[in-house]
Protein backbone atom coordinates (compact mmCIF):
# COMPACT_ATOMS: atom_id res chain seq x y z
CA UNK A 1 0.00 0.00 0.00
CA UNK A 2 2.81 2.35 0.94
CA UNK A 3 4.47 1.60 -2.37
CA UNK A 4 1.30 2.35 -4.23
CA UNK A 5 1.25 5.86 -2.75
CA UNK A 6 4.89 6.38 -3.58
CA UNK A 7 4.29 5.22 -7.11
CA UNK A 8 1.50 7.69 -7.78
CA UNK A 9 3.12 10.16 -10.13
CA UNK A 10 3.19 13.81 -9.10
CA UNK A 11 1.69 14.66 -12.47
CA UNK A 12 0.10 12.49 -15.05
CA UNK A 13 -1.09 13.51 -18.50
CA UNK A 14 -3.59 11.31 -20.30
CA UNK A 15 -4.25 11.75 -24.00
CA UNK A 16 -3.79 15.52 -24.05
CA UNK A 17 -4.96 17.03 -27.31
CA UNK A 18 -5.14 20.74 -28.00
CA UNK A 19 -6.02 22.72 -31.10
CA UNK A 20 -5.92 26.45 -31.68
CA UNK A 21 -8.02 28.59 -33.96
CA UNK A 22 -5.96 30.73 -36.28
CA UNK A 23 -8.34 33.67 -35.98
CA UNK A 24 -11.42 34.82 -34.08
CA UNK A 25 -13.83 33.98 -36.90
CA UNK A 26 -16.29 31.15 -36.51
CA UNK A 27 -15.06 28.91 -39.31
CA UNK A 28 -11.40 29.76 -38.84
CA UNK A 29 -8.79 27.11 -39.60
CA UNK A 30 -7.40 25.29 -36.62
CA UNK A 31 -3.90 24.05 -35.94
CA UNK A 32 -3.06 21.05 -33.85
CA UNK A 33 -0.71 22.08 -31.04
CA UNK A 34 -0.63 18.87 -29.03
CA UNK A 35 -1.64 15.50 -30.41
CA UNK A 36 -2.40 12.89 -27.78
CA UNK A 37 0.33 13.42 -25.20
CA UNK A 38 0.64 10.75 -22.49
CA UNK A 39 3.25 11.41 -19.84
CA UNK A 40 3.89 11.00 -16.18
CA UNK A 41 6.27 12.82 -13.90
CA UNK A 42 7.54 11.12 -10.78
CA UNK A 43 7.83 12.92 -7.47
CA UNK A 44 11.12 14.73 -7.05
CA UNK A 45 11.99 14.27 -10.69
CA UNK A 46 13.53 17.08 -12.74
CA UNK A 47 12.33 17.00 -16.33
CA UNK A 48 13.46 19.45 -18.96
CA UNK A 49 11.50 19.92 -22.15
CA UNK A 50 13.28 20.90 -25.33
CA UNK A 51 12.08 21.16 -28.89
CA UNK A 52 11.93 23.49 -31.86
CA UNK A 53 9.83 26.60 -31.51
CA UNK A 54 6.19 25.93 -32.25
CA UNK A 55 6.36 22.35 -30.96
CA UNK A 56 3.78 23.11 -28.27
CA UNK A 57 6.01 23.03 -25.21
CA UNK A 58 4.62 26.20 -23.69
CA UNK A 59 1.08 25.01 -24.44
CA UNK A 60 1.87 21.75 -22.66
CA UNK A 61 3.14 23.61 -19.60
CA UNK A 62 0.10 25.90 -19.56
CA UNK A 63 -2.15 22.85 -19.64
CA UNK A 64 -0.22 21.27 -16.76
CA UNK A 65 -0.67 24.54 -14.83
CA UNK A 66 -4.40 24.53 -15.72
CA UNK A 67 -3.96 27.97 -17.31
CA UNK A 68 -5.33 26.38 -20.47
CA UNK A 69 -7.68 23.44 -20.77
CA UNK A 70 -7.05 20.61 -23.23
CA UNK A 71 -9.68 19.78 -25.87
CA UNK A 72 -9.31 16.14 -24.95
CA UNK A 73 -7.55 14.28 -22.18
CA UNK A 74 -6.90 15.08 -18.55
CA UNK A 75 -4.26 16.29 -16.13
CA UNK A 76 -3.85 14.51 -12.81
CA UNK A 77 -1.99 15.82 -9.79
CA UNK A 78 -1.33 13.05 -7.30
CA UNK A 79 -3.95 10.95 -9.01
CA UNK A 80 -6.64 13.67 -8.86
CA UNK A 81 -8.00 15.24 -12.03
CA UNK A 82 -7.43 19.02 -11.97
CA UNK A 83 -9.06 21.74 -14.07
CA UNK A 84 -8.05 24.85 -12.10
CA UNK A 85 -4.68 26.20 -10.96
CA UNK A 86 -3.82 24.86 -7.53
CA UNK A 87 -1.48 25.66 -4.66
CA UNK A 88 0.62 22.53 -5.23
CA UNK A 89 1.74 23.77 -8.64
CA UNK A 90 3.66 27.05 -8.90
CA UNK A 91 4.78 28.65 -12.09
CA UNK A 92 7.93 30.61 -12.94
CA UNK A 93 7.51 32.74 -16.04
CA UNK A 94 9.74 33.49 -18.98
CA UNK A 95 9.47 37.25 -18.63
CA UNK A 96 9.45 36.99 -14.84
CA UNK A 97 5.75 37.96 -14.54
CA UNK A 98 6.32 40.39 -11.69
CA UNK A 99 3.72 43.05 -10.97
CA UNK A 100 5.57 46.29 -11.76
CA UNK A 101 3.54 48.25 -9.18
CA UNK A 102 4.44 45.89 -6.33
CA UNK A 103 7.67 45.78 -4.35
CA UNK A 104 9.72 42.60 -4.10
CA UNK A 105 8.08 41.55 -0.83
CA UNK A 106 4.57 42.30 -2.12
CA UNK A 107 5.22 40.31 -5.28
CA UNK A 108 6.37 37.35 -3.24
CA UNK A 109 3.42 37.77 -0.87
CA UNK A 110 0.91 37.85 -3.73
CA UNK A 111 0.04 34.11 -3.95
CA UNK A 112 -0.25 33.94 -0.16
CA UNK A 113 -2.43 37.04 0.00
CA UNK A 114 -4.73 35.67 -2.71
CA UNK A 115 -5.16 32.51 -0.66
CA UNK A 116 -5.77 34.50 2.55
CA UNK A 117 -2.81 33.28 4.53
CA UNK A 118 -2.53 34.96 7.94
CA UNK A 119 -0.37 38.07 7.43
CA UNK A 120 2.39 37.17 9.92
CA UNK A 121 2.85 33.66 8.65
CA UNK A 122 2.82 34.85 5.03
CA UNK A 123 5.42 37.50 5.71
CA UNK A 124 7.66 35.06 7.53
CA UNK A 125 7.44 32.59 4.61
CA UNK A 126 8.06 35.31 2.04
CA UNK A 127 11.10 36.64 3.90
CA UNK A 128 12.56 33.14 4.24
CA UNK A 129 12.44 32.60 0.49
CA UNK A 130 13.64 36.10 -0.35
CA UNK A 131 16.67 35.31 1.82
CA UNK A 132 17.02 31.93 0.16
CA UNK A 133 17.50 33.64 -3.21
CA UNK A 134 19.75 36.30 -1.66
CA UNK A 135 17.55 39.37 -2.10
CA UNK A 136 17.04 40.38 1.54
CA UNK A 137 18.55 43.80 0.80
CA UNK A 138 15.97 44.46 -1.90
CA UNK A 139 12.66 43.62 -0.20
CA UNK A 140 11.28 47.12 -0.78
CA UNK A 141 12.67 47.62 -4.29
CA UNK A 142 10.44 47.68 -7.36
CA UNK A 143 11.04 45.22 -10.22
CA UNK A 144 12.26 47.91 -12.63
CA UNK A 145 15.06 48.72 -10.18
CA UNK A 146 16.41 45.16 -10.40
CA UNK A 147 18.45 43.34 -13.04
CA UNK A 148 16.90 40.48 -15.02
CA UNK A 149 18.63 37.89 -12.89
CA UNK A 150 17.38 39.50 -9.69
CA UNK A 151 13.86 39.77 -11.08
CA UNK A 152 13.79 36.08 -11.82
CA UNK A 153 15.06 35.38 -8.31
CA UNK A 154 11.95 37.19 -7.11
CA UNK A 155 9.89 35.01 -9.46
CA UNK A 156 11.53 31.95 -7.98
CA UNK A 157 11.03 33.14 -4.39
CA UNK A 158 7.36 33.75 -5.18
CA UNK A 159 6.93 30.23 -6.54
CA UNK A 160 8.76 28.71 -3.56
CA UNK A 161 6.82 30.71 -0.96
CA UNK A 162 3.59 29.03 -2.05
CA UNK A 163 5.04 25.81 -0.68
CA UNK A 164 4.21 24.08 -3.95
CA UNK A 165 6.09 20.84 -4.48
CA UNK A 166 5.68 21.09 -8.24
CA UNK A 167 7.51 23.87 -10.08
CA UNK A 168 6.50 24.66 -13.65
CA UNK A 169 9.18 26.76 -15.30
CA UNK A 170 8.78 28.26 -18.76
CA UNK A 171 12.23 29.16 -20.08
CA UNK A 172 12.90 30.93 -16.80
CA UNK A 173 16.53 31.78 -17.54
CA UNK A 174 16.09 32.53 -21.25
CA UNK A 175 16.15 36.30 -20.74
CA UNK A 176 19.13 36.30 -18.39
CA UNK A 177 22.80 36.81 -19.31
CA UNK A 178 25.03 33.73 -19.54
CA UNK A 179 27.08 34.15 -16.35
CA UNK A 180 24.09 34.91 -14.16
CA UNK A 181 22.25 32.00 -15.74
CA UNK A 182 24.94 29.54 -14.61
CA UNK A 183 24.67 30.76 -11.03
CA UNK A 184 20.90 30.53 -11.08
CA UNK A 185 20.99 27.02 -12.50
CA UNK A 186 23.20 26.03 -9.59
CA UNK A 187 20.90 27.68 -7.07
CA UNK A 188 17.88 26.00 -8.61
CA UNK A 189 19.50 22.56 -8.51
CA UNK A 190 20.50 23.09 -4.89
CA UNK A 191 17.00 24.20 -3.86
CA UNK A 192 15.25 21.42 -5.77
CA UNK A 193 17.50 18.78 -4.31
CA UNK A 194 17.09 20.05 -0.75
CA UNK A 195 13.33 20.42 -0.97
CA UNK A 196 12.57 17.46 -3.26
CA UNK A 197 10.69 19.47 -5.84
CA UNK A 198 9.14 17.98 -8.91
CA UNK A 199 10.22 20.27 -11.72
CA UNK A 200 9.10 20.63 -15.31
CA UNK A 201 11.43 23.05 -17.02
CA UNK A 202 11.18 24.32 -20.59
CA UNK A 203 14.36 25.47 -22.28
CA UNK A 204 15.77 25.99 -25.73
CA UNK A 205 19.33 25.66 -24.48
CA UNK A 206 20.84 22.18 -25.02
CA UNK A 207 23.42 22.52 -22.25
CA UNK A 208 20.80 23.66 -19.78
CA UNK A 209 18.44 20.86 -20.78
CA UNK A 210 21.07 18.20 -20.05
CA UNK A 211 22.71 19.80 -17.05
CA UNK A 212 19.56 20.21 -14.96
CA UNK A 213 17.57 17.15 -15.89
CA UNK A 214 16.96 13.68 -14.61
CA UNK A 215 15.42 13.18 -18.02
CA UNK A 216 15.01 15.28 -21.11
CA UNK A 217 11.76 15.35 -22.99
CA UNK A 218 12.30 16.01 -26.65
CA UNK A 219 9.25 17.30 -28.46
CA UNK A 220 8.76 17.48 -32.19
CA UNK A 221 7.04 20.09 -34.21
CA UNK A 222 3.71 19.98 -35.96
CA UNK A 223 1.69 18.46 -34.47
CA UNK A 224 3.23 18.52 -30.99
CA UNK A 225 4.26 15.05 -29.98
CA UNK A 226 6.76 13.54 -27.62
CA UNK A 227 9.63 12.48 -29.85
CA UNK A 228 11.84 10.94 -27.21
CA UNK A 229 12.42 10.72 -23.47
CA UNK A 230 16.11 10.60 -22.64
CA UNK A 231 17.32 9.75 -19.14
CA UNK A 232 20.35 11.72 -18.01
CA UNK A 233 22.65 9.54 -15.97
CA UNK A 234 24.87 12.09 -14.27
CA UNK A 235 25.78 12.12 -10.58
CA UNK A 236 24.49 14.93 -8.35
CA UNK A 237 25.47 17.49 -7.21
CA UNK A 238 26.34 18.68 -10.67
CA UNK A 239 28.07 21.93 -9.85
CA UNK A 240 31.51 22.89 -8.64
CA UNK A 241 33.15 21.09 -11.52
CA UNK A 242 32.97 21.22 -15.30
CA UNK A 243 30.02 18.99 -15.94
CA UNK A 244 30.23 19.67 -19.66
CA UNK A 245 33.35 17.52 -19.80
CA UNK A 246 31.55 14.49 -18.35
CA UNK A 247 31.18 11.53 -20.75
CA UNK A 248 27.41 11.13 -20.21
CA UNK A 249 26.86 14.84 -20.70
CA UNK A 250 28.63 14.78 -24.05
CA UNK A 251 26.69 11.69 -25.14
CA UNK A 252 23.26 12.98 -24.25
CA UNK A 253 23.94 16.43 -25.61
CA UNK A 254 25.25 15.01 -28.86
CA UNK A 255 22.20 12.79 -29.24
CA UNK A 256 19.81 15.67 -28.56
CA UNK A 257 21.59 17.93 -30.98
CA UNK A 258 21.35 15.27 -33.67
CA UNK A 259 17.64 14.67 -33.09
CA UNK A 260 16.78 18.37 -33.00
CA UNK A 261 18.65 18.88 -36.25
CA UNK A 262 16.87 15.96 -37.92
CA UNK A 263 13.54 17.32 -36.77
CA UNK A 264 14.30 20.69 -38.31
CA UNK A 265 15.44 19.17 -41.58
CA UNK A 266 12.36 16.92 -41.83
CA UNK A 267 10.17 19.89 -41.13
CA UNK A 268 11.81 22.03 -43.80
CA UNK A 269 11.43 19.24 -46.36
CA UNK A 270 7.76 18.86 -45.50
CA UNK A 271 7.20 22.58 -45.88
CA UNK A 272 8.93 22.59 -49.27
CA UNK A 273 7.02 19.64 -50.72
Amino acid sequence: MKDAILDTPAIELRGIRKTFKLSEEKNAKTVLALDGVDLSFRKGEFTTIIGPSGCGKTTLLRIIASLALPDEGEVLVDGQVVTEPGIRRAMVFQNFGLFPWKTVIDNVLFPLAVRNFPADEAREKAMRHIKQVGLEKFVDAYPHQLSGGMQQRVGLARALSTGADILLMDEPFGAIDAQTRELMQEELMRICQEEKKTVIFITHDLDEAVMLADRVLLMSRGPGKVRELIPVDLPRPRFGYDIRAHKSFIEVRGHLWHELRNDLIEQNEQERS
Partner: protein, 251 residues
Protein backbone atom coordinates in the same frame (compact mmCIF):
# COMPACT_ATOMS: atom_id res chain seq x y z
CA UNK B 1 19.49 73.30 -20.69
CA UNK B 2 20.65 72.28 -17.22
CA UNK B 3 17.88 70.89 -14.99
CA UNK B 4 16.92 73.33 -12.26
CA UNK B 5 16.80 72.56 -8.59
CA UNK B 6 13.53 72.99 -6.67
CA UNK B 7 14.91 76.07 -4.96
CA UNK B 8 15.80 77.71 -8.27
CA UNK B 9 12.37 76.93 -9.71
CA UNK B 10 10.71 78.48 -6.65
CA UNK B 11 12.87 81.60 -7.03
CA UNK B 12 11.97 81.90 -10.74
CA UNK B 13 8.30 81.62 -9.91
CA UNK B 14 8.45 84.29 -7.19
CA UNK B 15 10.34 86.68 -9.46
CA UNK B 16 7.82 86.00 -12.24
CA UNK B 17 4.84 86.79 -10.00
CA UNK B 18 6.50 89.97 -8.69
CA UNK B 19 7.23 91.24 -12.20
CA UNK B 20 3.72 90.36 -13.37
CA UNK B 21 2.02 92.17 -10.47
CA UNK B 22 4.25 95.23 -10.84
CA UNK B 23 3.53 95.51 -14.57
CA UNK B 24 -0.18 95.10 -13.81
CA UNK B 25 -0.13 97.79 -11.11
CA UNK B 26 1.70 100.26 -13.40
CA UNK B 27 -0.58 99.47 -16.37
CA UNK B 28 -3.65 100.00 -14.21
CA UNK B 29 -2.25 103.34 -13.12
CA UNK B 30 -1.80 104.36 -16.79
CA UNK B 31 -5.26 103.10 -17.83
CA UNK B 32 -6.72 104.98 -14.91
CA UNK B 33 -10.11 103.25 -14.96
CA UNK B 34 -11.33 100.81 -12.29
CA UNK B 35 -13.94 99.55 -14.75
CA UNK B 36 -11.48 98.55 -17.49
CA UNK B 37 -8.47 97.46 -15.44
CA UNK B 38 -8.58 97.62 -11.64
CA UNK B 39 -5.19 97.73 -9.97
CA UNK B 40 -3.78 94.85 -7.95
CA UNK B 41 -4.40 96.70 -4.72
CA UNK B 42 -8.03 97.41 -5.65
CA UNK B 43 -8.56 93.74 -6.43
CA UNK B 44 -6.97 92.81 -3.10
CA UNK B 45 -9.42 95.08 -1.29
CA UNK B 46 -12.36 93.57 -3.19
CA UNK B 47 -11.07 90.06 -2.38
CA UNK B 48 -10.81 90.92 1.29
CA UNK B 49 -14.35 92.27 1.23
CA UNK B 50 -15.68 89.07 -0.40
CA UNK B 51 -13.80 87.02 2.15
CA UNK B 52 -15.01 88.72 5.34
CA UNK B 53 -18.58 89.10 4.11
CA UNK B 54 -18.64 85.29 3.83
CA UNK B 55 -19.85 85.57 0.24
CA UNK B 56 -16.72 83.88 -1.11
CA UNK B 57 -16.75 80.96 1.33
CA UNK B 58 -20.41 80.28 0.59
CA UNK B 59 -19.85 80.42 -3.18
CA UNK B 60 -16.75 78.29 -2.98
CA UNK B 61 -18.40 75.56 -0.91
CA UNK B 62 -21.32 75.53 -3.34
CA UNK B 63 -18.94 75.20 -6.30
CA UNK B 64 -16.75 72.56 -4.71
CA UNK B 65 -19.67 70.35 -3.75
CA UNK B 66 -21.05 70.65 -7.29
CA UNK B 67 -17.65 69.73 -8.70
CA UNK B 68 -17.08 66.77 -6.39
CA UNK B 69 -20.55 65.28 -6.94
CA UNK B 70 -20.25 65.82 -10.70
CA UNK B 71 -16.79 64.29 -10.95
CA UNK B 72 -17.71 61.35 -8.72
CA UNK B 73 -20.74 60.46 -10.86
CA UNK B 74 -18.67 61.01 -14.03
CA UNK B 75 -16.06 58.59 -12.73
CA UNK B 76 -18.62 55.87 -12.03
CA UNK B 77 -20.44 56.28 -15.35
CA UNK B 78 -17.18 56.73 -17.27
CA UNK B 79 -15.71 53.63 -15.67
CA UNK B 80 -18.68 51.39 -16.42
CA UNK B 81 -19.03 52.57 -20.03
CA UNK B 82 -15.27 52.55 -20.60
CA UNK B 83 -14.94 48.99 -19.29
CA UNK B 84 -17.85 47.91 -21.49
CA UNK B 85 -16.34 49.51 -24.58
CA UNK B 86 -12.90 48.05 -23.83
CA UNK B 87 -14.11 44.48 -23.32
CA UNK B 88 -16.77 44.28 -26.03
CA UNK B 89 -16.26 45.09 -29.72
CA UNK B 90 -20.03 45.41 -30.19
CA UNK B 91 -20.30 47.99 -27.42
CA UNK B 92 -17.33 49.83 -28.89
CA UNK B 93 -18.87 50.25 -32.34
CA UNK B 94 -22.29 51.05 -30.91
CA UNK B 95 -21.28 53.63 -28.29
CA UNK B 96 -18.03 55.21 -29.41
CA UNK B 97 -19.48 57.58 -32.05
CA UNK B 98 -21.79 59.16 -29.48
CA UNK B 99 -18.96 59.75 -27.07
CA UNK B 100 -16.78 61.25 -29.77
CA UNK B 101 -19.67 63.56 -30.65
CA UNK B 102 -20.20 64.52 -27.01
CA UNK B 103 -16.46 65.16 -26.62
CA UNK B 104 -16.48 67.50 -29.63
CA UNK B 105 -19.64 69.37 -28.63
CA UNK B 106 -19.07 72.41 -26.39
CA UNK B 107 -20.89 71.77 -23.12
CA UNK B 108 -22.41 75.24 -23.25
CA UNK B 109 -24.38 74.24 -26.37
CA UNK B 110 -26.18 71.58 -24.34
CA UNK B 111 -27.23 73.92 -21.52
CA UNK B 112 -30.67 74.78 -22.99
CA UNK B 113 -31.52 71.07 -23.21
CA UNK B 114 -30.37 70.42 -19.66
CA UNK B 115 -32.51 73.35 -18.51
CA UNK B 116 -35.60 71.87 -20.16
CA UNK B 117 -35.00 68.30 -19.04
CA UNK B 118 -33.48 68.66 -15.58
CA UNK B 119 -34.26 72.21 -14.46
CA UNK B 120 -31.83 74.79 -13.14
CA UNK B 121 -31.38 73.32 -9.67
CA UNK B 122 -28.54 71.20 -8.34
CA UNK B 123 -29.40 68.12 -10.47
CA UNK B 124 -29.29 70.17 -13.67
CA UNK B 125 -25.93 71.66 -12.74
CA UNK B 126 -24.49 68.27 -11.89
CA UNK B 127 -25.63 67.04 -15.32
CA UNK B 128 -23.68 69.87 -16.98
CA UNK B 129 -20.51 68.94 -15.06
CA UNK B 130 -21.00 65.27 -16.04
CA UNK B 131 -21.49 66.16 -19.71
CA UNK B 132 -18.21 68.05 -19.59
CA UNK B 133 -16.19 65.49 -17.63
CA UNK B 134 -17.47 62.01 -18.40
CA UNK B 135 -15.93 61.51 -21.84
CA UNK B 136 -12.23 61.82 -20.94
CA UNK B 137 -12.76 59.34 -18.11
CA UNK B 138 -14.57 56.93 -20.35
CA UNK B 139 -11.91 57.24 -23.07
CA UNK B 140 -9.06 56.68 -20.63
CA UNK B 141 -10.75 53.65 -19.05
CA UNK B 142 -11.43 52.25 -22.52
CA UNK B 143 -7.87 52.70 -23.74
CA UNK B 144 -6.32 51.65 -20.44
CA UNK B 145 -8.26 48.41 -20.28
CA UNK B 146 -7.91 47.65 -23.99
CA UNK B 147 -4.17 46.91 -23.60
CA UNK B 148 -4.76 43.59 -21.95
CA UNK B 149 -1.83 42.66 -19.66
CA UNK B 150 -2.17 38.99 -20.71
CA UNK B 151 1.04 37.84 -19.01
CA UNK B 152 0.11 39.36 -15.67
CA UNK B 153 -3.42 37.98 -15.90
CA UNK B 154 -1.85 34.54 -16.37
CA UNK B 155 0.38 35.14 -13.35
CA UNK B 156 -2.61 36.08 -11.21
CA UNK B 157 -4.65 33.10 -12.41
CA UNK B 158 -1.79 30.68 -11.83
CA UNK B 159 -1.51 31.88 -8.25
CA UNK B 160 -5.18 31.41 -7.54
CA UNK B 161 -7.09 34.57 -8.57
CA UNK B 162 -10.45 33.34 -9.84
CA UNK B 163 -13.19 35.03 -11.86
CA UNK B 164 -13.32 37.89 -14.34
CA UNK B 165 -14.23 40.53 -11.75
CA UNK B 166 -11.34 39.67 -9.43
CA UNK B 167 -8.93 39.70 -12.39
CA UNK B 168 -10.36 43.03 -13.54
CA UNK B 169 -9.71 44.76 -10.25
CA UNK B 170 -6.56 42.93 -9.11
CA UNK B 171 -4.71 43.16 -12.41
CA UNK B 172 -6.33 44.99 -15.31
CA UNK B 173 -7.50 48.12 -13.46
CA UNK B 174 -4.31 48.32 -11.45
CA UNK B 175 -2.17 48.02 -14.58
CA UNK B 176 -4.27 50.71 -16.28
CA UNK B 177 -4.26 53.06 -13.28
CA UNK B 178 -1.65 55.51 -14.63
CA UNK B 179 -3.76 55.97 -17.78
CA UNK B 180 -6.97 56.24 -15.74
CA UNK B 181 -5.47 58.95 -13.53
CA UNK B 182 -4.39 60.94 -16.58
CA UNK B 183 -8.00 60.74 -17.77
CA UNK B 184 -9.27 61.88 -14.38
CA UNK B 185 -6.92 64.84 -14.44
CA UNK B 186 -8.23 65.87 -17.85
CA UNK B 187 -11.79 65.35 -16.61
CA UNK B 188 -11.18 67.57 -13.58
CA UNK B 189 -10.03 70.43 -15.83
CA UNK B 190 -13.08 70.07 -18.05
CA UNK B 191 -15.27 69.65 -14.96
CA UNK B 192 -14.22 73.07 -13.66
CA UNK B 193 -15.25 74.59 -17.00
CA UNK B 194 -18.56 72.69 -16.87
CA UNK B 195 -19.09 73.91 -13.33
CA UNK B 196 -18.53 77.56 -14.30
CA UNK B 197 -20.87 77.14 -17.29
CA UNK B 198 -23.57 75.57 -15.12
CA UNK B 199 -23.27 78.34 -12.52
CA UNK B 200 -23.49 81.17 -15.02
CA UNK B 201 -25.96 79.82 -17.60
CA UNK B 202 -28.49 77.80 -15.56
CA UNK B 203 -29.07 79.82 -12.46
CA UNK B 204 -26.52 82.03 -10.79
CA UNK B 205 -24.72 80.31 -7.97
CA UNK B 206 -21.29 79.46 -6.65
CA UNK B 207 -18.14 81.14 -7.93
CA UNK B 208 -19.50 81.29 -11.48
CA UNK B 209 -22.58 83.11 -10.25
CA UNK B 210 -20.43 85.55 -8.29
CA UNK B 211 -18.41 86.43 -11.39
CA UNK B 212 -21.50 86.83 -13.54
CA UNK B 213 -23.40 89.02 -11.09
CA UNK B 214 -20.47 91.37 -10.36
CA UNK B 215 -19.79 91.49 -14.08
CA UNK B 216 -23.29 92.67 -14.84
CA UNK B 217 -22.87 95.37 -12.18
CA UNK B 218 -19.59 96.42 -13.88
CA UNK B 219 -17.63 95.91 -10.65
CA UNK B 220 -14.53 94.67 -12.43
CA UNK B 221 -12.38 94.56 -9.27
CA UNK B 222 -14.84 92.10 -7.70
CA UNK B 223 -14.93 90.07 -10.95
CA UNK B 224 -11.15 89.64 -10.74
CA UNK B 225 -11.37 88.86 -7.03
CA UNK B 226 -13.77 86.02 -7.86
CA UNK B 227 -11.87 84.68 -10.88
CA UNK B 228 -8.79 84.19 -8.70
CA UNK B 229 -10.24 81.48 -6.43
CA UNK B 230 -11.82 79.79 -9.48
CA UNK B 231 -8.44 79.40 -11.15
CA UNK B 232 -6.90 78.32 -7.85
CA UNK B 233 -9.59 75.68 -7.48
CA UNK B 234 -8.81 74.28 -10.92
CA UNK B 235 -5.05 74.32 -10.40
CA UNK B 236 -5.28 72.72 -6.96
CA UNK B 237 -7.54 69.93 -8.18
CA UNK B 238 -5.45 69.12 -11.24
CA UNK B 239 -2.17 69.15 -9.30
CA UNK B 240 -3.65 67.00 -6.54
CA UNK B 241 -4.66 64.40 -9.11
CA UNK B 242 -1.26 64.76 -10.78
CA UNK B 243 0.41 63.97 -7.47
CA UNK B 244 -1.81 60.91 -7.00
CA UNK B 245 -0.98 59.90 -10.56
CA UNK B 246 2.74 59.86 -9.84
CA UNK B 247 2.15 57.65 -6.82
CA UNK B 248 0.56 55.03 -9.06
CA UNK B 249 3.35 55.04 -11.63
CA UNK B 250 6.19 52.58 -11.34
CA UNK B 251 8.95 53.72 -13.64
Amino acid sequence: MRTRSKKEIRRDQIVGVAVFLTVWEISAWFVGSKLVLPSVSQIAVAFWDLLISGELILALSESISLLIVGLAISTVIGFILGALVARSRTAYWMLNPYFSALFATPTIALVPLVLVWFGFGFPGRVIVVILAAVVPIMFSVASGLRDDPKDLVDVARSFGVKGELALLFRVRVRAALPVLMAGLRLAAGRGVVGMAVAETYLRLGGIGGLIKSYGSMFQTDYVFAAILPLSLLGITLVSLIGRLERRFQWS
